[in-house]
């Protein structure tokens, strides 16, 4: 039975996240981008909203049940405040959720509670690689079986908080399959490189990580000796990023609408010009349509639908296009002022382009 309204419980969470996005993330966003640093107290406050904790069952010291739908709603609402901040708050998801989806019972018992019980800590994951046609299902980083161990070799990029991370999941190509390995960030052969300077996401510390024959015991292979299916991980990542694209685009859209209603041109408000009003109508329509697609993808993931993987892929594809269109137009509506860093739209436009590239940077 179709329904497009969140549950009461979800709505309460969304209201709380909405206040956090508006009162904490947004006011800090510009300075964080300029200073390339997000204030830890704000990250901690976001962590304490308990989005991840609420998707982990109590046997692993969480207090709820995983729901991709709740996850995308939360991601969307938080990214309305700031994308870098949201990704930072949700970095531990990259470690915990793959374990929850694919880990053995022992792995879950061992690795999830220390993350969930504590304050925010940079448990992270390394998926992306520095090549133009990076493909999560065809990694250049390889894992080779060597006796009871695996040996990882390759170069990773866009690894959040790698320099201060305690543990991370490293993804590597094992006989053609993408497999996760639990790796200590200070383990032998793990070389964290320079912090990456990028077009956007300046407030989020992202690093290259070189894997120089990193030895991983079998018990730290995600899912144990049999390994795991990679689909749930990449699907969750796509849904999360698509949801954040929607939230961030909505932010740019609302800002542009307010500006257009305020700014005078030729004796009327700029929003009263059809050239602008039509842009606004299309932006609003596209955001809402893609939003429904993201929700559907999440719902399919929760309900084990056959087309879930494909829909998550379509959702991120659509969201990446939409985010670029919307954020570009937001800058355009502000005219020259949109180009000035006093306004946030240029920041959203830079972040907006990233959704075509980001992979595995968020999970719900």
């Amino acid at each position: 039975m179709y329904s497009f309204s969140p549950t009461e419980e979800q709505q309460m969470l969304l209201d709380a996240i909405g206040r956090y996005a508006e009162n904490d993330l947004r006011p800090a966003a510009r300075e964080a981008d300029e200073e390339t640093h997000f204030p830890p107290n704000i990250i901690e406050k976001g962590w304490e909203m308990g989005v991840l904790q609420a998707s982990v069952p109590d046997e692993y010291f969480g207090f709820g049940e995983h729901s991709a739908v709740t996850g995308v709603l939360a991601a969307e609402a938080m990214a309305y405040g700031d994308l870098s901040g949201t990704l930072a708050v949700m970095v531990p998801n990259l470690f915990v959720l793959p374990l929850l989806f694919c880990g053995t019972e022992e792995q879950k018992q061992e690795h999830i509670p220390p993350v969930i019980e504590a304050e925010w800590k940079p448990y992270t994951a390394a998926l992306m690689e520095p090549k133009f046609d990076f493909d999560p299902n065809d990694l250049a980083t390889v894992a080779e079986a060597d006796g009871e161990d695996y040996v990882l070799r390759g170069e990773k990029a866009f690894v959040p908080f790698a320099a201060e991370a305690e543990k991370m999941i490293v993804y590597a190509n094992l006989d053609g399959e993408t497999q996760g390995f639990i790796v200590s960030a200070d383990g032998e052969g793990v070389e964290v490189g320079q912090r990456q300077k990028l077009l956007g996401l300046n407030a989020l510390p992202l690093f290259t990580v070189n894997l120089e024959s990193v030895r991983v015991p079998q018990r730290d292979r995600l899912g144990g000796p049999e390994g795991h299916d990679f689909a749930p991980i990449i699907d969750s990542s796509r849904a999360a990023l698509a949801a954040m694209a929607v939230g961030m685009s909505k932010a740019a859209f609302d800002y542009a609408v307010e500006y257009a209603k305020d700014r005078e041109v030729f004796g009327v408000k700029v929003a009263q010009k059809q050239a602008i009003a039509f842009m606004i109508a299309e932006m609003g329509t596209e955001i809402e349509a893609i939003r429904m697609l993201v929700w559907e993808a999440a719902w399919m993931l929760d309900n084990g639908q056959r087309e879930a993987s494909k829909t998550a892929y379509l959702a991120l594809t659509g969201a990446a296009n939409m985010a670029m269109m919307v954020t570009d137009r937001a800058v355009q509506i502000l005219g020259g002022h949109g180009y000035i860093r006093e306004h946030p739209v240029e920041l959203w436009m830079r972040n907006g382009r990233g959704f075509a590239t980001f992979s595995g940077l968020a999970m719900v």
Partner: protein, 418 residues
């Protein structure tokens, strides 16, 4: 709770309608395209029987019935799904043939207006005919040569003859979908828009039911069109056409407000997403055929692969799927809102904007992607390319609907955003 599974009754209905689309529409689709103004009676008679057995369909579900259903459903806690079901039916029938879908008896805009604005007596007088032995049609006559989307420019007049207590209608109407079937081919009716006070602008606008056989009302022209050729589009002249006083829909007194007019515009909250559903049906047919043909020729779509590694054709198909699915979901949301009595004019126009856009883009791209095959009349693709465009035009062009969306987003009245 957010849920994307179609309700069971819709799933069941969808299977039946798909069988109809596959067996009764597709095989004759080309014939009725090439033989414009011939009427697909076999399909119509079949649909008449089928629809009757289902208890009828209409653009606007009968409120009384809905209320009763609502009451029943409250006990069982089933929310209303009338519009959502209609959207699925229209989508599937349009997947079969968008022109023939418009020939389904008894479900057009005229009866929608009667359902929305008529008194119980009027509903009884005008709507019961659809449940008879013969198929009966209805139509909406709004557009005039000088008044399209700007309906306030309508010049047709209705004057009350107080001696006979009749309205005298005068004027010319164009682009009346199914007008011929309503007036000449069945004992149907049309709903005519006219002003009862030429100085009152929109406030004077009213709609009147004109039944088949009424003297002074005649079909004067059958349009020849780019697509949806199975459906007739006609011009109608009203010359001292007299209808009983009781045929007026809504209040006969002119007040300074445009409340009556706005009420009429409310019909669009349901009809616009229904047109979007039609657009989605054509687009889905197109995309399915495109993928089938590509597959036959060894092209498979590698979902999940980064765009940098995909061929252009794959990227095009994937983008089409995104557009199609997101447009459909937005349409469903708009109608879910209508079913649940949530104010939805913004979403209704949004779905119409995106539906019209998406089907036009998809059909145009598909024809081009299949090259000489796509351009050939051996396939239905070129027909769907022609059929598709109507959804970006009627029930308000894409541009009018962008205006409506923008006004709602910005909180502007018509005078603030012209």
């Amino acid at each position: 709770m957010i849920d994307f599974s179609p309700p069971k009754p819709i799933k069941q209905m969808n299977n039946v309608v798909e069988t109809v689309a596959v067996n009764m529409m597709r095989p004759v689709s080309r014939y009725f395209d090439e033989n414009e103004h011939e009427i697909p009676w076999d399909f119509i008679n079949f649909m008449h029987t089928a629809v009757k057995s289902m208890g009828g369909i209409s653009m606007a579900p009968d409120e009384k019935k809905e209320k009763k259903k609502d009451a029943d459903k409250k006990k069982k806690k089933h929310p209303p799904i009338g519009y959502q079901r209609l959207a699925h039916m229209v989508e599937m029938l349009s997947w079969g043939d968008a022109g023939m879908y418009l020939c389904v008896p008894g479900g057009m805009l005229g009866s929608a207006a009667v359902s929305a604005a008529g008194t119980p007596e009027q509903k009884k007088r005008f709507l019961t005919r659809f449940m008879g032995d013969e198929p009966v049609f209805d139509a909406m006559a709004m557009t005039e040569p000088q008044a399209g989307s700007d309906t306030s420019a309508i010049r047709a007049t209705a004057d009350l003859d107080e001696e006979t207590n009749e309205w005298i209608l005068n004027g010319e109407k164009i682009f009346v979908t199914a007008g011929d079937k309503a007036l000449e081919q069945s004992n149907g009716f049309i709903v005519v828009w006219a002003t009862i006070d030429t100085d009152a602008g929109r406030a004077g606008m009213r709609s009147f039911v004109v039944e088949a056989g009424t003297p002074g009302c005649s079909v004067t022209k059958m349009e020849e069109k780019l697509g949806i050729r199975a459906s007739d589009t006609v011009s109608i002249v009203l010359q001292d056409c007299r209808v009983p006083y009781e045929n007026i829909l809504g209040s006969p007194t002119v007040k300074k407000t445009t409340k009556g007019f706005k009420g009429a515009m409310k019909t669009f909250d349901a009809t616009r997403p229904i047109i979007a559903a039609q657009a989605v049906g054509i687009a889905r047919a197109t995309l399915e055929l495109l993928k089938e043909e590509l597959e036959k020729n060894g092209v498979t779509i590698r979902y999940g692969t980064p765009r940098q590694k995909l061929t252009n054709i794959e990227r095009e198909v994937i983008d089409m799927e995104v557009q199609l699915r997101s447009a459909w979901l937005l349409t469903l949301k708009a109608l879910w809102m209508a079913d649940n009595k949530i104010h939805n004019p913004k979403e209704a126009s949004m779905s119409k904007v995106i539906g019209g856009d998406v089907v036009v883009k998809i059909t145009q791209k598909a024809v081009a992607l299949l090259g000489p095959l796509g351009y050939s009349r051996d396939m239905l693709l070129e027909k769907w390319f022609r059929d598709a465009k109507i959804t970006d035009l009627y029930e308000g062009t894409g541009q009018i609907n962008r205006l409506v969306v923008a006004r709602h987003i910005l909180g502007y009245r018509g005078s603030q955003l012209r």
